[in-house]
C-alpha cells in the first residue's frame, strides 16, 4: 500500500517509455538533418534574427543575467531557463528525457566529469561543424581537454574549479592554528582543533567521489587511463596511496565531521565555525556568499595544501560546461546561446556575478585579479585561484562513465567512513565495480 504511488509512477514510466519508442523513431529522422555541413557565423545570425524558443537546463546562478542580456540583444529569441536539479539529479532527469525521446532541453549544463558519458551515449551534438575547435585558444587547457572527446568538441567550457583551501579565519585565530601549507600540517591542525573543541572539525566528509578524485589528481595519481574504448582503473598507484595514507588518519581519528556537503547541517556548520575548512573549486565563493551569508567576513582563501613542502600542484574540482543536445530541434540557436554565454558578452556577466571563468583572457586580466571579495574581508582571492588554475597537474582523465562510477562510490569507499574498512580497500572495491561496469558496457578493461 505504502508504495502505491511508486507503483503508479513505475507504471507511468513504462508508459512514457512505450510512447518514447514511437517518438524516437520519428525524432531521429528530424535531427538527422541537423547533422549536415558546417554552419557559418552568418548562418547563426540568420537563425538568431529569425528567432525561436530554446530551453536551457542549468543550476548555475549567474546564467540568469546572461539570459536577460541575451534576450535583450536578440529580442526574437526566447530562452527558457530551467533548474532541473544540481549535478547528478539533473543528469538523472536528462538521461531520462534522452531515453524517453522527448522532454530534453536544447542546452544542458554538464560538469566536465560527466561529459564523456553523455557524449559517448550520443546524447550531445558535436560542435565542430559550428567551428567550435577554433575557440580552443580562448580557454584554459584543462577545461578545453575536458570538452574535447574522441576528436570532437561536445561542449563549451562555462567555468572551472581550480582547487583552493577556504578556511574560517575566526576559528583559526581563536585556536591559534596556522594555515596549513602541506596536508601533514592540515592533519595536525585537525587534531589540535578537535582537541580544543570536540564539536569543531577541520572539515566535513562522508565520502565524496568528486573530492576524492580531485585529491588523488593533485597528488599526481592517474587511476583512470582511457584510450578510445580501452579503459583501465588502478587505485594502487602512488598518487592514490598518498591520499589514502593522509586521509585515513583524519577518518580513523574521527577528525572529519560526518556531515554531507550541501546538506542543511553543512551550511549550519560552515556558519557556526564547527566546520573550519573546505578544499574546493574556485566556483565556491558565490555559493558561500549565498548559502552562508551570516559568516561573511569570517572566511579567507589560501592555496591548496601540498603533498610535499615547497611544491605547487593543484587540481580541478567540479567545473561545468554547456552542451547542445542532439535531440534539439533548434541546434543553431542553442549554439548561439552557448557562444554568447561562454565566449561572448555573457561570460563577462558571469564573472561579475562571481563565477570563475574558464577563459584565459579573463583569468589574466588585471581587473579580474584585483577584484576584492567583501565576503573574504576584502581579500583578492582571484589571485590565488588564478595561480591554482596555472598549476593544475596535467594528464588527468575521468572514466567515460564517471557518472555511474560516482553513483556507487558510497557503496564501496563509503564503507571506510562508517566501519573499520580502510580507505584503500574501499578504493579497491570501487575500482572493481568500475571495471565490472566498463566490461558490461563493452569497453576493453584492464588495470
Amino acid at each position: 500500500m505504502r508504495t502505491k504511488a511508486v507503483r503508479h509512477t513505475l507504471r507511468g514510466l513504462g508508459l512514457v517509455c512505450a510512447a518514447a519508442l514511437a517518438l524516437t523513431a520519428c525524432s531521429s529522422s528530424t535531427t538527422g538533418s541537423g547533422d549536415g555541413g558546417p554552419v557559418s557565423a552568418s548562418g547563426l545570425d540568420t537563425a538568431l534574427s529569425q528567432g525561436g524558443s530554446i530551453t536551457v537546463w542549468a543550476w548555475e546562478p549567474t546564467l540568469k543575467q546572461v539570459v536577460t542580456d541575451f534576450e535583450a540583444k536578440y529580442p526574437k529569441v526566447h530562452v527558457n531557463l530551467v533548474n532541473a536539479g544540481t549535478g547528478d539529479k539533473q543528469y538523472t532527469a536528462l538521461q531520462n528525457a534522452v531515453q524517453a525521446g522527448n522532454g530534453a532541453p536544447d542546452v544542458a549544463q554538464i560538469e566536465y566529469y560527466a561529459l564523456g558519458q553523455f557524449a559517448l551515449g550520443k546524447s550531445l551534438q558535436d560542435l565542430s561543424k559550428y567551428g567550435a575547435p577554433d575557440l580552443s585558444k580562448q580557454y584554459s587547457p584543462g577545461p578545453w581537454t575536458s570538452v574535447s572527446i574522441n576528436g570532437g568538441v561536445y561542449a563549451l567550457p562555462m567555468d572551472s574549479g581550480p582547487m583552493a583551501l577556504f578556511y574560517n579565519k575566526k576559528v583559526f585565530d581563536k585556536y591559534d592554528l596556522t594555515v596549513p601549507t602541506t596536508w601533514d600540517q592540515y592533519v595536525d591542525d585537525a587534531r589540535k582543533l578537535h582537541a580544543a573543541d570536540p564539536n569543531a572539525y577541520i572539515t566535513n566528509d562522508t565520502g565524496d567521489a568528486g573530492f576524492t578524485t580531485s585529491m588523488i589528481w593533485q597528488a599526481g595519481g592517474h587511476p583512470y587511463k582511457v584510450n578510445g574504448t580501452k579503459v583501465s582503473v588502478d587505485f594502487t598507484d602512488p598518487g592514490s596511496a598518498k591520499f589514502t595514507d593522509t586521509w585515513q588518519k583524519l577518518v580513523s581519528e574521527h577528525l572529519v565531521a560526518p556531515v554531507s556537503s550541501w546538506s542543511d547541517q553543512w551550511y549550519k556548520g560552515l556558519g557556526d565555525g564547527s566546520i573550519a575548512t573546505l578544499a574546493m573549486g574556485a566556483w565556491m565563493p558565490a555559493n558561500l556568499a549565498s548559502g552562508v551569508p551570516t559568516a561573511s567576513g569570517d572566511w579567507r582563501v589560501a592555496p591548496l595544501p601540498q603533498w610535499r613542502q615547497g611544491q605547487s600542484a593543484s587540481s580541478e574540482n567540479g567545473g561545468s560546461s554547456l552542451a547542445v543536445m542532439k535531440s534539439s530541434a533548434h541546434q543553431d540557436l542553442a549554439y548561439a546561446f552557448l557562444k554568447f554565454a561562454n565566449a561572448g558578452d555573457g561570460a563577462q556577466d558571469r564573472i561579475k556575478g562571481g563565477a570563475f571563468p574558464a577563459t584565459t583572457a579573463d583569468l589574466n586580466s588585471q581587473a579580474f585579479l584585483d577584484t576584492a571579495f567583501p565576503y573574504f574581508g576584502g581579500q583578492q582571492a582571484n589571485k590565488i585561484f588564478s595561480d591554482s588554475a596555472k598549476s593544475v597537474v596535467t594528464g588527468w582523465q575521468y572514466l567515460p562513465y564517471q557518472v555511474y562510477a560516482n553513483s556507487v562510490f558510497n557503496d564501496t569507499v563509503g564503507k571506510a567512513y562508517v566501519s573499520s574498512t580502510p580507505l584503500a580497500s574501499g578504493l579497491k572495491a570501487w575500482q572493481d565495480a568500475s571495471v565490472k561496469y566498463g566490461t558490461g558496457q563493452g569497453f576493453t578493461t584492464g588495470q
Binding site: A18, S263, S407, G442
Partner: protein, 307 residues
C-alpha cells in the same frame, strides 16, 4: 444466474442463440472502456518491460538481443539478493509489529471502553494522511544526531544515543517510520471488519460465561480473518516495494544506504545512474514475480484456514 426473460414483444422472433450472442456483445461494450485502459496502463507497460529485458544497450556496441541472459544475471547478482534479503527481513519483523499494534488499537476501539474514541481513531489514522516523502523528511530531522531531536536529547541529558542513521540501525529506523505511517490505515481495516461482527455473537459468548480475552480469541479474531489476510497481503507487497524511505534517507546517510538497498531502489539506480534500463526491467520483473508468488501463496493459505 437468474435471467428474467425479456418481454416477448421487444424480443420479436429472434432465436435464443442469437439473442445470447448480442447480449454478449453488450457485455463487452460495458467492460470495453475498462479493458482498453487496463491494456494501456497495465498490460502494455508489462509487455514493454519484458521486451526491454531481452535486450542490452551498451555504450560501446549499441543495442543487441541477449535473450534470457539478464535473467541469468539477476539470479546470480549478489547485490540484488542482498537487497531482497533486506526487504525479507524487514517483512519478517516490521509487518508483524505493525499489524500487531494495529490490531490492538482496533480491538481497543471496538471494546467500547475507550474514552474519546473518535479522537483516538483520527489521531492514529492521521500519519497515513501525511505523504510518505514528507513523513520521511520529518523523521530524518527527528533522527538527526547533530541538529535534530536525537542531538537535542543527547545534549539535554548528556547521553550519547546510537545514531539512528548508522548502517546497523537504519533499517530499524525505516521500519519505525513505516510503522508510524501505516498503523492507522491497518487499524481502520481491522476496525471496520470488527464492526460488522453480529453483536448477538458477543451476547451468546457472554451467556456461555466467556471473558473478554476469550471473546477476542474465539469470536473476534476468527471473524476478521479475511481482513487480517488482506492487510498482510498488502503489507507483503508494500515491504517488497520499499523505496521512498531509503531513497530519501540516502541523502543524510549516504554510506548506510547503498544503491542496492532494496530491489526497487536497485532498479532505480540501475536505470537512472547506470543507464541499464534493460537489466533494471529484468530485476523489476523478477521481483514482481517473486512478490506475486509469495503474496498469492499467503492468501491461499490464509483463506484455506478460513474455510
Amino acid at each position: 444466474m437468474t435471467i428474467t426473460s425479456p418481454p416477448a414483444a421487444s424480443a420479436g422472433r429472434g432465436s435464443p442463440p442469437r439473442r445470447r450472442s448480442s447480449r454478449g456483445l453488450v457485455g463487452w461494450g460495458f467492460i470495453g472502456p475498462f479493458l482498453a485502459v487496463f491494456a494501456l496502463v497495465f498490460l502494455a507497460p508489462i509487455g514493454y518491460s519484458v521486451y526491454l529485458s531481452l535486450f542490452q544497450d551498451r555504450l560501446i556496441g549499441g543495442n543487441t538481443f541477449v535473450g534470457l541472459d539478464h535473467y541469468q544475471q539477476a539470479f546470480q547478482d549478489p547485490e540484488f539478493w542482498s537487497g531482497f534479503g533486506r526487504v525479507a527481513l524487514f517483512l519478517a519483523v516490521q509487518v508483524p509489529v505493525m499489524l500487531g499494534i494495529a490490531l490492538l488499537a482496533a480491538l481497543a476501539l471496538d471494546s467500547g471502553r475507550l474514552y474519546g474514541k473518535s479522537f483516538f481513531r483520527i489521531t492514529v489514522f492521521l500519519p497515513y494522511a501525511v505523504p510518505a516523502v514528507v513523513a520521511t523528511l520529518m523523521w530524518e530531522f527527528l533522527y538527526g544526531s547533530r541538529f535534530g531531536l536525537v542531538g537535542d536529547i543527547n545534549r539535554a541529558f548528556g547521553v550519547s544515543l546510537p545514531d539512528p542513521l548508522s548502517p546497523g540501525l537504519v533499517l530499524a529506523s525505516i521500519g519505525n517510520i513505516v510503522t508510524w505511517e501505516f498503523v492507522g490505515y491497518n487499524m481502520l481495516i481491522f476496525y471496520s471488519a470488527l464492526r460488522v461482527v453480529p453483536r448477538s455473537l458477543y451476547e451468546a459468548a457472554e451467556i456461555d460465561g466467556a471473558g473478554q480475552w476469550r471473546v477476542i480469541t474465539a469470536v473476534k479474531l476468527p471473524a476478521i480473518r479475511g481482513a487480517l489476510v488482506i492487510a498482510t497481503v498488502f503489507s507483503i507487497i508494500g515491504s517488497f516495494q520499499l523505496f521512498n524511505e531509503p531513497a530519501i534517507l540516502k541523502v543524510p546517510a549516504p554510506n548506510a544506504i547503498t544503491t542496492f538497498y532494496t530491489p526497487n531502489y536497485y532498479t532505480y539506480t540501475l536505470s537512472f545512474s547506470g543507464r541499464q534500463q534493460n537489466y533494471a526491467a529484468t530485476v523489476a520483473i523478477v521481483m514482481g514475480v517473486i512478490t506475486m508468488v509469495i503474496a498469492y501463496a499467503f492468501q491461499l493459505r490464509g483463506m484455506r484456514k478460513e474455510a
